[in-house]
């Protein structure tokens, strides 16, 4: 570990960084972190594996196996860094892009595909890994997270809540209301904003004219900007914020300064609204390359290790693909199940009528 100044020359000065794009460790007075070699290698492995899952999902979409996919490409460090900061007891509320966080929580990647394949709207049990369902209505999960944190508070539990949202989401009333609730009730919650510079086609300037992390100060709690492509920094900053939350210090907002390297979703065509140069500039800050460089330079891993991870990634990709294709299509009963918990006459009636209709239809077809 060296004490060199950060070399990411164009990085805004307020950015917390522990690992430069070139793979140099830098120190930070408030957020330093000690990582064993095993830990760094494990983070590297996570980064590579989630990128591979993502790649596979994009391919599956291209081949018509998924209706849509929201790629995390470029945001791996923000997600793995923050995700690995969580304890088992902590709860995470994602948007629709937190495949990396899901990975850290232990959610089977294939479960994430259901929504995008159109076989369900989410469909994993949020309590199983303390990873809430994906939320598509921008920003609405921020309030859920704060309410959940208020529950944690009432339970006196040693746990924190983290909620993910994008730069675009910061414009929604719900997100701002969640800041107010969190502040007034001193809720044990961390707001993790992945500022990937774009909300579909709209650049950051359409959502704010000052750095996003400063929003928090207007609500009376700390806001921090971290290099979202630096997995060490994301881990350190999130770990601290979660600890603060657990210790009754209330909310923190973290702005992970990162970049959406791909399209918004597979339906999107970013060439309509952004220039290629931008992408090229960000490629130099790739979240995986810098960890690889660090491991390599410091002789913490050799080619064999990298090859092994790549092989593991390929196997994972294949496995995800195979099991995606095996995902069962729901039958029509799934229309009616779970709409209500208690019996509901109207749904029961409609189920019955529809099955009678289907039966008659088949009977007719047989004739």
């Amino acid at each position: 570990m060296t004490a060199e100044a950060p070399r990411g020359a164009d990085a805004p000065p307020e950015l917390i960084q522990l690992l430069t794009p070139e793979g140099e460790r830098v120190e930070h007075p408030d957020y330093d972190i000690e990582l064993t070699t095993e830990e760094v290698r494990s983070l590297y492995r996570d980064l590579v594996l989630v990128r591979r899952i993502d790649l596979e999902a994009v391919a599956l979409q291209r081949q018509g196996e998924l209706g849509l996919w929201a790629s995390l490409l470029g945001q791996e460090a923000a997600q793995i860094g923050s995700g690995r900061a969580l304890t088992d007891a902590d709860m995470a509320f994602p948007t629709y892009r937190e495949h990396g966080v899901a990975w850290c929580r232990g959610v089977d990647p294939v479960k994430l595909l259901g929504l995008f394949r159109g076989v369900n709207h989410g469909g994993w049990d949020p309590y199983e890994h303390n990873f809430h369902l994906y939320t598509i209505v921008i920003g609405s999960q921020a309030l859920h997270a704060v309410g959940y944190a208020m529950g944690v508070q009432r339970d006196g539990a040693d746990a924190a809540t983290i909620v993910y949202f994008g730069d675009g989401a910061t414009s929604q009333g719900d997100v701002n209301e969640s800041f107010i609730w969190a502040s007034v009730f001193n809720a044990p919650v961390v707001f993790f904003c992945q500022n990937n510079q774009w909300a579909i086609s709209e650049p950051l300037e359409k959502q704010t004219r000052i750095p996003l992390y400063k929003r928090a100060s207007g609500f009376g709690f700390p806001g921090i900007r971290v290099d979202g492509n630096d997995v060490f920094a994301c881990l350190a900053v999130t770990r601290k914020a979660l600890a603060d939350a657990r210790n009754g210090q209330g909310p923190t907002m973290i702005e992970a300064f990162t970049y959406r390297m791909g399209a918004h979703t597979t339906s999107d065509d970013p060439t309509r609204y952004r220039v290629a140069d931008e992408l090229e500039a960000w490629k130099l800050k790739d979240p995986i390359e810098r960890v690889k460089a660090y491991l390599f330079k410091n002789q913490l891993a050799d080619q064999e290790f990298f090859d092994k991870v790549d092989a593991e990634a390929d196997a994972l990709g294949k496995d995800v693909r195979r099991r995606c294709l095996e995902l069962p299509d729901p039958g029509p009963e799934a229309l009616f199940d779970h709409v209500y918990g208690a019996p509901h006459a109207l749904v029961d009636e409609e189920r019955e009528q529809y099955f009678a209709y289907l039966a008659g239809f088949e009977a007719g077809a047989e004739r």
């Binding site: 949020p126 609405s140 921020a142 529950g151 969640s178 007034v184 709409v339 509901h344």
Partner: protein
């Protein structure tokens, strides 16, 4: 038996529910020290503390959104929307989250959230304080919608609503908050999805809920003089509907008038009329007629007597039903 106003009956019901289950919370604007602008939560914060009776920031989306979060953590929040007209900032949280999250989770998530809404007009209030927004919620799959009309029902219905694992929009007829009746604090109520025939009659069926039940009962009494025997059904549950009670009645009487305060056009009465017209096609001697508000915003209070269905407008509709 105890004599209670409708408002106090809900207050008692909330108190019982909170005693019974420590996970039950009450939250909303001014529900704590003030006890709510209608005093429905009066005394609860004093007895259950600020952690269970929560005065929230002034934002309805925030109230419902955080209630969802609390429910995800195992709590059973009862949210108060201060007036009917202020539920709309929470529409997104109610419609896209509260109603749909249980299905989204394939049943892993239950959201036992009750949203209490004092509703309806007749109290001489300013704009947005006299709305009847039930149709926005009856059309929203995933929600149950209930409307109480009298103290005894109010007392049991609020408790049943809180006990139910589904999200429920619970309408309280604000102008009836001060109506008094005997309430048996120990007897269980009708199941929460059941309608009640509150007056028997064989000539025509009046379907009503919430504040209009009393109006319909008064109309029925008045019509007795003219020799008309009117049946009045208090729906209690708007979604789901208790179609058994409704169709039995209309098939027997052959005539039906639906009464609510909300605008008739695309209102909940339309569903009742459409459904009954289908189920009772061969029994109807007249079309199902609807009495309700006009297709205009709720008027200033000096006009509300024109806007609100009253005994005369109900009887006029009954007369028209008999004219077929």
């Amino acid at each position: 038996m105890t004599t209670l106003t409708l408002g106090k009956a809900i207050n008692e019901g909330l108190r019982r529910a909170m005693e019974e289950d420590p996970k039950v919370l009450v939250m909303g604007e001014d529900v704590g020290k003030l006890g709510g602008v209608f005093r429905v939560t009066d005394g609860l914060q004093k007895d259950f503390g600020e952690d269970r009776v929560i005065d929230t920031p002034l934002a309805e989306s925030g109230i419902i959104g955080t209630a969802i979060g609390l429910a995800l953590r195992g709590y059973r929040p009862v949210c108060e929307i201060q007036f009917d007209g202020f539920v709309f900032p929470a529409a997104d949280q109610i419609i896209t989250q509260l109603a749909k999250m249980p299905l989204r989770s394939l049943g892993a998530v239950k959201l036992p959230v009750v949203v209490r809404i004092p509703c309806g007009g007749g109290i001489g209030a300013v704009e947005h304080h006299s709305e009847s927004p039930e149709a926005y919620f009856t059309h929203t799959a995933g929600l149950r919608v209930m409307a109480c009309s009298n103290p005894a029902d109010a007392y049991t219905m609020i408790q049943d609503a809180i006990r139910c694992d589904d999200p429920i929009i619970f309408f309280e007829p604000k102008r009836r908050y001060w109506d008094k009746a005997e309430v048996d604090l120990t007897a269980p109520g009708l199941p929460l999805d059941r309608a009640r025939t509150v007056r028997h009659g064989d000539d025509v069926t009046l379907l009503a809920y919430g504040p209009m039940v009393k109006t319909c009962l008064a109309a029925a009494t008045a019509a007795e003089g003219e020799g008309r025997n009117i049946e009045v059904i208090d729906l209690r549950s708007l979604n789901p509907l208790d179609m058994g009670v409704i169709t039995e009645s209309v098939q027997r009487t052959g005539r039906c008038v639906v009464v609510h305060e909300a605008p008739v056009f695309s209102g909940f009465g339309a569903e009742l009329a459409a459904r009954i017209s289908e189920r009772c096609f061969y029994h109807l001697e007249a079309p199902v007629l609807r009495v309700g508000g006009f297709s205009t915003p709720y008027p200033p209070s000096r006009l509300e007597d024109h806007y609100l269905p009253d005994l005369d407008r109900v009887l006029d509709a009954v007369d028209r039903a008999f004219a077929y």
